[in-house]
Each structure stands twice: as structure tokens, then as C-alpha cells.
């Protein structure tokens, strides 16, 4: 009757089997990279061999530079992502619930949304200089819309039977129904929005740091380019990719936990 729960060992095996394709892909990338280096012998300032990049990686970890830059980027993206979530989730819940609020807000959203967060970087520099607030601003632009739109869709696609059940079982007011049914029922979609928003925010912070920063992973790779250190650029890129994957995995885990029953 009850759905079968796999044993802990089976689950561990399944998870290991799930990560296997990723390990294979990573190995293929490194092998192809090494082949290109072996066959075409490019200048190391253009494309260093994987082993050199690994050495640089160790060196940047050793002198603490990588940790510092990662911490800067993370702090910026987390602050900005939280800020956009604090605005976008309540606004999205309201827009999904009230047709008139949606009609008022939607034109603003549709006009501003196509402007890439990267296009805001020059304005951010003009308005905020190259301090922290400019970068936070750019990431907020990047994370805001996915969170907002997913929240709106989440509210609108709440199963009507759940709304009926809420009304039958004691939600006498629109607010009670909103609080006890609409909000929790939309949570899975909100988590999806937060996940996508974090991803777009992560992309935006790197771009902002490329242009206007003295710290962060974006700065690390921009600086690598300036001093013709392709190995440093590649270390930065690899860390950006791995961290992005890590956050995405974390949010997918949250998604499963908040996932719908049916």
C-alpha cells in the first residue's frame, strides 16, 4: 500500500549512479583539452595544459586569493538574491491573486524584463560608482524577474480543488484562503523561481565584476586576462561553474522537499 522506500544503501548507490555521468563529462572535457594542447601546442598564455591550471589552482588556494574572491562574489550574490526574493515573492503572490494588481504591474515587468542585467551595468556604475551597491543592483535585476514570474505562475496554477477544500474547511475570508492554501500551495513554484533567480544572479555578478570590481571571481578572471594569465582565467571559470552546479543541486534538493504530493 505505502510506496516503497529504497534502503539507505540502494539510495546511496542510486545517487552515485546519478553523479557518474557528470564525472564522465568532466573527464571527457579534460581529455579533449589535453589533446588540443598536445596536438596544437598553443602558447600557455592562450591555452595552458590542464596540469598547469591545477598547479595555479593549488597556488590560488594556498595564498587565500581564491577563497577571498569567492567570498566576495558569494556575499554580493546572496545579499542581492535575498533582496530580490523579499520584494519579488510577496509581489508575485499579490499579482497572482489579484487581477487588478497584475494588470497594473505587468506592463512594467514586460517593459523592463527584456533589458538584460548586463545592459544595466553602465547605469549602475554611473549611479552607484564601483562600490558594492552597484553590483548588488545588477544582480537584483538579474534575479528579480525569474522569482517574480515563477511565483505568479505558481499562484495561478494552484489546483482549484484545493481552493474549494480550503473554503469548505474553514477559510471564510479571502485572506484566510490566501494564507492557509494559496501561499503554501505555490511554494514549489516559488522555490523553482528562487533557484533560477540564483542562477541568473550568479551569471550577473560575474559580469558586473568583470567590468567594475577589485575583488570577486569576475575580477579574478578579468585580471587574468589583463596580465595574460590564461591559467588564472581558467581557474576562475572552473570555480564559477562548480559553484553554480553546487547551488543548483542544493535548490533541487529543496525543491524535492517542498515538492507537491501528487
Amino acid at each position: 500500500m505505502i510506496s516503497k522506500m529504497p534502503s539507505p544503501t540502494m539510495r546511496l548507490l542510486a545517487r552515485a549512479a546519478g553523479t557518474l555521468p557528470f564525472i564522465v563529462a568532466a573527464v571527457v572535457i579534460v581529455v579533449v583539452w589535453q589533446l588540443v594542447v598536445t596536438l596544437t601546442r598553443p602558447d600557455p598564455s592562450v591555452l595552458p595544459p590542464p596540469i598547469d591550471v591545477l598547479a595555479t589552482f593549488g597556488q590560488l588556494i594556498g595564498n587565500g586569493e581564491l577563497a577571498t574572491d569567492t567570498a566576495y562574489s558569494l556575499a554580493r550574490v546572496c545579499a542581492a538574491w535575498l533582496l530580490s526574493a523579499v520584494i519579488a515573492v510577496p509581489l508575485g503572490l499579490l499579482m497572482g491573486t489579484s487581477r487588478s494588481i497584475e494588470n497594473i504591474v505587468n506592463p512594467f515587468v514586460e517593459l523592463l524584463r527584456p533589458i538584460s542585467p548586463l545592459a544595466w551595468i553602465p547605469m549602475a556604475i554611473l549611479w552607484f560608482g564601483i562600490g558594492e551597491s552597484g553590483k548588488v543592483f545588477v544582480v537584483v535585476i538579474g534575479a528579480f524577474f525569474p522569482v517574480l514570474l515563477n511565483t505568479v505562475v505558481g499562484v495561478k496554477s494552484v489546483d482549484p480543488a484545493l481552493l474549494h477544500a480550503g473554503e469548505v474547511f474553514g477559510c471564510n475570508t479571502r485572506f484566510a484562503l490566501f494564507r492557509r492554501v494559496v501561499v503554501p500551495a505555490s511554494m514549489p513554484a516559488v522555490v523553482v523561481g528562487l533557484r533560477i533567480g540564483f542562477g541568473t544572479g550568479w551569471a550577473a555578478i560575474i559580469a558586473a565584476e568583470l567590468v567594475a570590481a577589485q575583488s570577486g571571481l569576475g575580477y579574478l578572471i578579468a585580471n587574468g586576462m589583463d596580465v595574460l594569465r590564461a591559467d588564472q582565467v581558467l581557474v576562475g571559470m572552473i570555480v564559477i561553474g562548480l559553484l553554480g552546479l553546487l547551488f543548483d543541486t542544493f535548490f533541487r534538493f529543496l525543491q524535492r522537499r517542498f515538492g507537491r504530493g501528487d
Binding site: 500500500m1 505505502i2 510506496s3 489546483d159 480543488a161 484545493l162 474549494h164 477544500a165 473554503e167 469548505v168 474547511f169 474553514g170 477559510c171 471564510n172 492557509r180 492554501v181 503554501p184 500551495a185 511554494m187 517542498f258 515538492g259 507537491r260 504530493g261 501528487d262
Partner: protein, 263 residues
């Protein structure tokens, strides 16, 4: 432990009709006008072909819809919107997946003036009646369809409704689970008598459960015929008097189905 004295309230459906406006602006009659009187504590089953307005009727009784004409009275009082006095068991279960089994059963009790510990006590009692006490802290998605509908039945009885509305509650279940749940529903109902309005398209289900069976006609749904079932419970639907009744109901139903297929 739960007020056994109460057997629910009478239901009077008085000339109720529902008309929708089509896109072209023309009125489309979905239901009625129909009039039904259901006694307090009666198990009343409505049978009808798909699309005859059974669900519209149930939504009117629940208060999700307002009738275009007529009145619905519960215990002599007109209804005003959905409320705890008329709880519903939905075909799609409509359980809240973010809550545990017991929290689902307690959901309706939150609106009542009683302590949390009293709510828990009532919910556990209801879960015990449907045999799911040991599943109280499970997540909804860990349950089978039959178990979900048991939880929904427990949730519906927990608020001590005057009337229990059931919208093809076992329609999504396999034949064997359906059989088990029909028996279980009767057991729970006999323990805490409520007025039940049960909608189904299964004649044998109606024969097994009902005090009275009402057959609805094709759209716009009207009451076409009515039968009282006096056989004592638990019933054997293969026994002669019930088979005879079944034949009679099918004869009437067939003329409706012909009407549907030729319209």
C-alpha cells in the same frame, strides 16, 4: 466521544436551477429546476450519466456556486457560501500536500474554538475510524489512492458537518479498493450518522450504499426517477430484490443514455 446525538440536518433543494451564459451570450441551462427533500441522517445517492449536471448540483450545495433560481435550505436555514456545516469529499481527494496526514484532518478544526490538544484528539479518533492512526505523521505523497481518500473522509467527518457531500469519491480508485472503501464509509457513517449526498455514476455503488437513489436526466439535469432502498446493511447486491431494482434503474438510465447519444 464525538456527539453521537447529532445525525446531521435535513436538506431542502427548492426549485434550484443553474444557467450559464455562453460566450455568445445565450443562456445555457445546466441544471434543473430540481426539488429534493433529504431527511436528517439519510444516505441520499444521485446517479446520472456524465455531463448531466451532478457536479454542478454538488457545487451548488457546497456553496461554490450560487443558484440562478431557487433556494437551498439546511435544517431550514438558507446557505450562504461554503462552510463547515457542509463538508466535501472530492474525487481528486484535494488533500493539502504540504501538510501531514493528521494536519490535513485537523485543517477544518483550526477554524473552530477548541484547544490544539482537543483538535489532535478528534483527528486521531477519525484516523482510527478509517484505520490510519499509525499513518498520522506520514506525508500525503507516501499514501496510495485508497488511503488518501480515507484521509479525506476522516477530514470531512472531523468537523462534524450537518451534511456530507461526496462527489464521485471512489471514481478514481480500482474496483477492489472501491469495494473496501464503500464498506468502510458505511461503517464510519453508521458510527457517526450524518446526512450524506453521494454522487456517482455507478448503479451498483448506489444500490450498496443508499437509503434513497435519485436518477438525474441528461442536461439540463432534472430528477427523473427515485427509488427507496430498504434492504438492511451490509447488503448483498447480487440478492434478488436488489438485482430487480438494478434492472429497473438501468432501464431508466438507458433511455437517458440514448437521449444523450442522439442529442
Amino acid at each position: 466521544m464525538c456527539a453521537a446525538a447529532s445525525i446531521g440536518k435535513s436538506l431542502r433543494i427548492n426549485g434550484v436551477a443553474k444557467t450559464y451564459a455562453t460566450r455568445a451570450g445565450e443562456p445555457l441551462s445546466a441544471l434543473g429546476p430540481i426539488s429534493i427533500d433529504v431527511e436528517a441522517g439519510e444516505f441520499f445517492v444521485v446517479v446520472g450519466p456524465s455531463g448531466c449536471g451532478k457536479t454542478t448540483l454538488l457545487h451548488l450545495l457546497a456553496g461554490f456556486l450560487k443558484p440562478t433560481e431557487g433556494q437551498i435550505l439546511v435544517g431550514g436555514e438558507p446557505i450562504a457560501g461554503p462552510g463547515l456545516d457542509r463538508s466535501v469529499v472530492f474525487q481528486s481527494y484535494a488533500l493539502f500536500p504540504w501538510l501531514s496526514v493528521i494536519e490535513n484532518v485537523e485543517f477544518g478544526l483550526r477554524a473552530k474554538r477548541m484547544s490544539r490538544s482537543r483538535q489532535r484528539e478528534i483527528a486521531l479518533h477519525q484516523l482510527r475510524l478509517v484505520g490510519l492512526e499509525s499513518f498520522a505523521n506520514k506525508r500525503i505523497d507516501e499514501l496510495s489512492g485508497g488511503m488518501k481518500q480515507r484521509v479525506a473522509i476522516a477530514r470531512a467527518f472531523a468537523v462534524e458537518p450537518s451534511i456530507l457531500l461526496m462527489d464521485e469519491p471512489f471514481g478514481a480508485l480500482d474496483a477492489l479498493t472501491r469495494r473496501v472503501l464503500q464498506r468502510e464509509l458505511l461503517r464510519v457513517w453508521q458510527e457517526q450518522r450524518r446526512t450524506v449526498i453521494f454522487i456517482t455514476h455507478s448503479v451498483s455503488e448506489a444500490l450498496f450504499l443508499a437509503d434513497r437513489i435519485s436518477l438525474m436526466s441528461a442536461r439540463p439535469g432534472r430528477i427523473k426517477a427515485e427509488w427507496r432502498v430498504d434492504a438492511s446493511r451490509p447488503r448483498d447486491v447480487t440478492a434478488e430484490p436488489l438485482v430487480k431494482l438494478e434492472r429497473e434503474i438501468y432501464a431508466q438510465l438507458d433511455t437517458e443514455l440514448t437521449a444523450l447519444s442522439t442529442s
